[in-house]
C-alpha cells in the first residue's frame, strides 16, 4: 500500500486511507477472532468428526474456514453426522433452510440440542442470515431456499474462511455454484427392515463418496448405516450384513411397535 503522505491528489489520499482502514479492520477482526476463540477449539484447526467420516475427509475432520457440499439422496442426516462430534465437544451449530427438522433424529445423530439453533425459514434474506451465523457459530448447515447466485455463494465461502467457521451446504434442488473444498455424495441408499407389511425400518445402508480439491482430489468411498438401527451413523459391522441391534429376521409381528 502506498504512503498517502506527500501525495498532491486528495482523492488518492482518501483511497489510500480507506484501503489502510480496511486492512486494519481486517487484521483487528482476525486478531479478535483469535482472541475470543475458546481454548478448547482454538488450538484445533480441524474440528472432529466420527471415525468413519474422518477416514473420508482429507484432513480427518472439518478444517476451519472450509466449505463442504453434501448431496445425494437424504443428505441432511449426513450433514448432522458431520456436526455430531464437534457439537458434543461444545461447538455451536446452526441449520438454515432445513424445513421441518426432526429434532429427535438430530439428537440421536449426536448433536447437543442446547447449542444447536434452527432457522428453518430464512426467506429472501437467507444469505445475510447465514453470513451473520458464520460470524459466531462454528458449524453452519445451509440449504438455500432459493437458487444461490454466484456472487452470494462466493461471499459466504469467503465469510466462512475469514471467520474460521465451517459451511456445509446441502444444495437440495438447486446447484451450489462454487466448487467446495470437499463434496460428500450419498449413493446407493438401501432401506432395510421393512417388507410387505412386516417388520419396521431398521436403517439405511449407503455409500458415501468424498471428492475435493487439492489434497482431496482423489475420491474416497466408504459404506455405513445412516441412520443405523439406533438412529446414529453406524460404521459397517464385521459381518457387513446389517446394522447392529436386532436385525429384521429376529422380529415378528407380535413385537409391539407403535
Amino acid at each position: 500500500m502506498s504512503d498517502p503522505d506527500g501525495s498532491p491528489d486528495p482523492r488518492q489520499d482518501k483511497v489510500a486511507a480507506r484501503d489502510a482502514l480496511r486492512a486494519r479492520g481486517r487484521t483487528s477482526l482476525t486478531t479478535l477472532a483469535e482472541r475470543v476463540r475458546p481454548v478448547s477449539t482454538s488450538s484445533s484447526r480441524v474440528l472432529p468428526v466420527p471415525p468413519f467420516l474422518a477416514d473420508l475427509l482429507p484432513e480427518g475432520g472439518l478444517r476451519r474456514g472450509s466449505t463442504l457440499v453434501v448431496d445425494g439422496p437424504g443428505p441432511v442426516g449426513l450433514a448432522c453426522a458431520l456436526l455430531s462430534d464437534s457439537s458434543a465437544a461444545g461447538s455451536w451449530c446452526a441449520m438454515v433452510g432445513i424445513e421441518d427438522p426432526g429434532a429427535a433424529a438430530i439428537h440421536t445423530l449426536g448433536l447437543d440440542l442446547a447449542r444447536t439453533v434452527f432457522v428453518p425459514n430464512p426467506g429472501p434474506a437467507w444469505a445475510e442470515a447465514t453470513a451473520h451465523l458464520l460470524d459466531g457459530i462454528d458449524l453452519v448447515v445451509l440449504r438455500p431456499p432459493f437458487p444461490p447466485r454466484g456472487s452470494m455463494a462466493r461471499r459466504l465461502v469467503a465469510r466462512a474462511r475469514e471467520r474460521r467457521s465451517v459451511l456445509i451446504v446441502v444444495p437440495g434442488g438447486s446447484r451450489w455454484p462454487e466448487p467446495p473444498d470437499v463434496r460428500l455424495t450419498i449413493q446407493n441408499p438401501r432401506w432395510t427392515g421393512v417388507a410387505s407389511g412386516e417388520g419396521y425400518l431398521r436403517g439405511r445402508h449407503v455409500t458415501v463418496e468424498a471428492t475435493g480439491r487439492r489434497s482431496a482430489a482423489r475420491a474416497r468411498t466408504g459404506t455405513c448405516w445412516l441412520p443405523g438401527a439406533h438412529g446414529s451413523l453406524e460404521a459397517p459391522t464385521l459381518s457387513g450384513m446389517g446394522p447392529s441391534g436386532p436385525t429384521f429376521h429376529h422380529l415378528d409381528s407380535r413385537t409391539p411397535v407403535i
Binding site: V76, G90, A129, V194, G228
Partner: protein
Amino acid sequence: MDRLLVVRCPELRDDDEGGATRRRFATVLDALGFYCPWVTPHELGLCSLPARGPARYFGGEEALVSLVTDVVSALTPVEVGIADGLFAATLAARGGLIVPAGETPEFLAPWPIAMLGDDDLADLLGRLGLHTLGAFARLPEADVLGRFGSDGIRGHQVARGARGDLLEMALRPSDTTRSPEAIQIGFWGGVSETDARATRALGQVQAELGAEAVLVARLQGGRGPADQARFVTWTDKEHTRTSAPVAPWPGHIPPPAPITVYATPRPVRLLDPDGQPVTVTRSGLLGTPPASLFDTTHPVLAWAGPWPVDERWWTRQRRRGVRIQVVVDVDAHLLVGGADGWAIEATYA
C-alpha cells in the same frame, strides 16, 4: 407442607470479626418479632416464619410480603418470598416471589440440581443427562433409592416438593441472582466466550429476520414424531438450559427417528395395485395393500404396518387412524391414514 415466608438479607450473610453483622441481624429478628412471634433464624442473614396465620391477619400473602419487606428494608436490603417448605421458600425469596400453594414442584423444576447442595449427586445426575430438579423429580423413587441411597431420596423428595427441610442446601450459593438461568450461569463458571460469540451472531440474525425465526428444539415424550419435540424461539437464556433426555415413551415408534417431521402432515395419495386409494377398515387394517405413492409411477418398494394411531390430536378429528412406513424411490416415509385419506407425517432421510 407449611407455607413459609423466608426473609433473606444478602448483606448480612457473611460473619465478621467484630460481630457487627450478627448485631444487625438481631435487630432484623427483633423487628420481625414485633409482628410475628414465630420467627426462626436459620443462618446468618436468613430466617423464616410461618406465613398462614400472619397472612390471614394482615390481609393476604402479598400484604404480608410487603409489610415484611417494608419493615426489614428500613434496616438492610432484603429479599422476601413465600412457598411450600423452607427449600422452595428460600429460592422464592431470591426472586421476591410468592409461589402459590401446591405449585412448588413446578416452581422448583427449572432450577439446577446443584441447588440441593450435594455436589456429588449433582455431578452424578449431570452425567446421566439430568440437570434440573424437574428432571431429577421425574425419576421413579425406587430407582433413586437403588442408585443414590437415602441421601439421594432426601434430595429427590425435596426436588419433587414432597419435603422442604433440606435447608443447608438452598443456602449455600451466596450470590444474589434472581432467576434459575442467572444462577446457572454463576454455577457453571460463567458464560463461555463461545456462547457469547454465538449469542451475538444469533442476535444479529434475529434483528434481520425477527426473533421467532431462530429456534431451538426441546425433546419431550411422545408417540408420534411430531410429539417428540417442540421448537421454541431462541433467547440468550436458552443456552444455559439443556434438553431433557429422550424419554422412553410407551408405544412410541421404534428408532431410527425420522430426520424430517412435517409440522402439518402433507396429504398424499396412496394407491393399491389397481390404482385405487388404499382404505383403512374400521378395525384398523388396510383394505388393500399399498402399491404406489403420489401416482402409479412411484411404486411402494416395501412397507410395514399398519399400527393404530391413538393420539389426541388425531382422535379429535378422526375416529380411527393408522400409521405405516413405506419405502418409495430412495426415500422412506411415515404415513398416517384414516377415513379422510393419507398424509406424509415424516420422512426418514
